[in-house]
Symmetry: C2
Subunit: 574 residues, 2 copies
């Protein structure tokens, strides 16, 4: 494995010491700004002196280059404490350019999605990519690959596999432990993983967990959680000793309901940070990244200094990043210059002492390892494979819920011809096709009111990322399956036997090799095409498709193994 | 080197998980107490469930053993963030028993003194002793052995020597970097030491340092300071990014002047902890250890929860002790039960789930390595070696200042006979004799008004710990030197050519092998004898003797190399 070795920009020590002592000009001095002191929570008028990639002193300094920042504020670069980069559909190299502009200089990413497709090849690809990114890109090693037994993932990462990465300099700990049952059941491989990362940070994932289960989860060594949806849940988890990551993504939006207990002063904030978890690039462009968390928190009434601390110093403490999160001597020169603390529009962003403008001037270098391409391997799908025999009436039907990733189950009468289900205006067919090992596994289901004509398909389907297709007729569905098999993965819409829109996700069937601009254009066209085939305006086509197979969400799910009642854990028949 | 391997008391995982889930009784449950939640600063009515050495859950629990603690408080065991155990004159095994009774369950010790005498043998002795102590005993590796060029220490610990200990499980970082000039001058060996402990904690020692020097000190990677004497100094150091350790020892008392900025709410407290630095066992017995810091802070007006956090959770964070400092699931069962938050009188102390009473029931096991005994090696001292030729008038004279470790310089006429100094009621002779390598180095000086008759001598003399003797006549001085040479070190008082009191410090000439009770008796007798030979009541004989040779304090000093004007760095002649 290639170690992350960025070009060293650290200066000879003697020069730095002399500059810090004021005996020699610093390389760069940001003068007369109001600097956030993360240790005391004060904004103080100071100069910030920088040599190379390091802040060498705060006070009064002279520099070879000087910027007068009178009337401006300096805060530390923002940290996204938990993100799945794959959900942006961008490569790390491209994604990080997008968020850098908005002040994010550090990402703590969990490559759970690509690992479920490519296993260690996926980990290596993401770890290697870090060297080509203009931010600090750290990783948590995915703890739950595969996520469970209800579907077929592309890879298995057991404790022996993860052990190879435990001491990698870019690895901060173990990724979200969704296998909460495994904790309670003392599963040996899971506890081996916990032991590997015992001295580091271990992310949790425990929606609604409380009481003794929560105590047990904490006892096992879990240190964070990003699944809180209410102030009460947050308070109990904080009291149990978990650090909280407040999530605002494209789907899950928890900030408004969690921030209130902080504004009231009912809870201390030192163990709280911000994260996006999953956020699409178009949402980042329109709404923001961590800057959005800060802006919204202050709008809701949070003290500005606290909001900026939750975006920098606090996550640095939670994840043991000793050189990040502060504008102070000895810390890496990652900072954001703002005209207003309230609108959070960066006037300048520095990463390792270099401006975002200069870092983004060069075209991105995007190395793509062959090992993470060509990941769609399906057994030939025949028309008969998509036939759904109906043996009862009514049958279980999936009802997607607008703007949510959970679904509802209903039992309804559906249209049947010669013993087989037939799509109509009300009901459409769902198929999930195992796409890693060409096993031929196909699971079928029925969904209500998702589209009027044609078919839509994707190779993004949490967490196993099999191929999912929803359609009104088998011909279009087969074409969609065929198209994704040919293209190496992505999203596709078929109508009247022709492909009308598509997004190629060449890397693991999850990420595009295109630029953010191109991807945004493709997304816009695809969204329009989704409307054209009748997907309701209030239904996010990407999200509905990609979360429909996820077995850990409640309600009805379709996996490559069949129709699953995730609430009971039983597969159902028709 | 023997690794610290305490007997494992950790239980089988399955049993702990089942107990945490409430499916099985816990070993021990402390019921109905007001438990300090360090994550939120709240006291909450809860049961604390413990299996083996670990807290497994907070909530409602049943246990095989249960204590009803209605009306009581539970707080985490106290942490002394910086202590030189040698200053207690007790072995680590005995010292830790004393402080455990008072609620201290963790010590972060700097074996600077024994290292100056015995080098690596001293480090090994202290590291090995940790396994025989009923507390968590961690070490910072002494950064400044020898402390300077003005005297002769017993050993040199360069970066290569310290490298062997950088990954020892009991080592948390680098000990106080007193060589502040070395930081500014970019001394190579010092920066190698800093690099070795870069990812750990690096203690500072920077009295009155401020401005650009302070920024430079922080830039070099220093993370703490325990030398603040005013609120202003504390505020600047906190703002620079140093964590503060508030010191209350036998000599230096900084709490009252530092606590005010915290009471005013002008500073956040998360980066502040308590330490004793140097505290004699009799002071600990009469006044307390970290319990004294807490009691006094609350008396001065600090919020009780904050005081207890500064004694537990905050130092655990500063030193990266992930399993300590909280009463919460997954943390080590180190806690203190109190009837009152104000008087801080422990009703029960638990360390690793065992009561202090049970831990102290057994007689202490004190292994003494031969390598740290027999450390007094002096060249034969003849009467003529103590003769002090006087060539000028007046001559520089040391004036000790009551209750302080600093001295004043005056120039005075002294009694001279045949060209040599003669003691009288006003002036006495000081001799410092190199005692490590039998080099024959002897430094001589004159002190005013320290004693009326006889001689007093010690092998405790910061930081080189050479033999220091002060006397009214050479005969008694020679006997005192002889006595310490014979006994292997300690303190001795001679009057009329006979030894009238003595404290044997067999280990490195610094620590007694006796029990705390015995040592306290010896100290009381010695203190009385010191009065009998005329040492003024307001002068601490131990402290005056042991700090008189310290070259880093201002004023006149005597080292084995001669009379030093420490303020100018020049040796003086008579």
């Amino acid at each position: 494995m290639k170690q992350v070795e960025k070009k060293k920009v650290r200066q000879p020590r003697g020069l730095m010491i002399m500059s810090a002592l004021g005996q020699f000009k610093a390389d760069l001095v940001l003068k007369n700004a109001n600097v956030l002191n993360v240790f005391t929570g004060e904004f103080m008028p100071r100069d910030v002196a920088i040599n190379g990639d390091t802040i060498i002193g705060i006070g009064e300094y002279e520099g070879t280059y000087e910027y007068d920042l009178s009337g401006m504020y300096i805060v530390p670069g923002f940290i996204d404490a938990h993100v799945h980069i794959e959900s942006s559909m961008l490569t790390p190299q491209i994604f990080t350019r997008e968020v850098l502009k908005r002040g994010t200089t550090t990402l703590i990413a969990d490559p759970h999605e690509i690992a479920n497709v490519c296993g260690e090849d996926g980990l290596k690809y993401m770890l290697d990519a870090a060297a080509e990114c203009p931010v600090n890109l750290y990783y948590m090693m995915p703890s739950c690959v595969p996520a469970g037994d209800f579907d077929t993932a592309g890879a298995v990462l057991d404790a022996a596999a993860l052990a190879k990465y435990a001491n990698h300099p870019s690895v901060l700990g173990l990724g979200e432990v969704m296998n909460t049952a495994g904790i309670m059941r003392c599963e040996s491989d899971l506890y081996q993983k916990l032991a590997l990362f015992h001295s580091k940070t271990i992310d949790g994932h425990a929606p609604m967990m409380h009481g003794k289960a929560l105590q047990t989860y904490r006892l096992a060594g879990i240190t964070t959680d990003h699944e809180c949806t209410s102030g009460e849940e947050a308070a109990e988890k904080l009291r149990a000793g978990l650090a909280l990551l407040i999530r605002e993504g494209s789907g899950a939006r928890n900030l408004d309901s969690l921030i209130q207990i902080l504004i009231d002063g009912r809870m201390q904030t030192q163990r709280i940070a911000f994260c996006t978890d999953d956020k699409h690039v178009d949402d980042i462009r329109t709404e923001g990244h961590i800057d959005h968390h800060i802006r919204r928190s202050i709008q809701l009434g949070l003290d500005p200094a606290t909001a900026y601390l939750m975006a920098s110093w606090y996550p640095a403490q939670i994840y043991g990043l000793k050189h990040l999160g502060a504008v102070a001597a000895g810390y890496q020169a990652d900072l954001v210059v703002l005209k207003s603390l309230y609108d959070v529009q960066p006037k300048m962003v520095l990463h390792k002492g270099k401006t975002a403008c200069s870092l983004l001037e060069k075209a991105p270098r995007v190395s793509i390892a062959p090992a993470v391409c060509d990941t769609v391997h399906i057994a030939p799908v025949k028309r008969s494979d998509l036939r759904l025999r109906i043996n009862k009436d009514p049958v279980p039907v999936i009802v997607p819920i607008p703007r949510q990733i959970i679904t509802k189950r209903v039992n309804e009468h559906v249209h049947v011809r010669n013993g087989y289900f037939v799509s109509d205006a009300c009901h459409q067919k769902v198929a999930v096709i195992e796409r890693h090992h060409a096993s031929g596994n196909i699971g079928l289901g029925i969904i209500r009111g998702f589209l009027r004509t044609g078919a839509i398909a994707a190779t993004v389907g949490h967490d196993a990322h099999n191929l999912i297709v929803i359609g009104t007729n088998d011909t279009d569905m087969l074409l969609a399956i065929h198209a994704l098999n040919e293209s190496g993965g992505g999203y596709v819409i078929v109508k009247d036997q022709s492909i009308v829109a598509g997004i190629e996700l060449e890397i693991a069937g999850l990420m595009s090799t295109h630029s953010a601009d191109e991807l945004c254009r493709e997304l816009a066209l695809f969204t329009q095409a989704a409307k054209d085939i009748g997907i309701p305006q209030d239904m996010d086509p990407y999200q509905t498709l990609s979360f429909l197979p996820l077995p850990v969400l409640p309600g009805l799910r379709v996996t490559d193994k069949g129709l699953l009642d995730a609430s009971s854990g039983n597969f159902l028949t028709y």
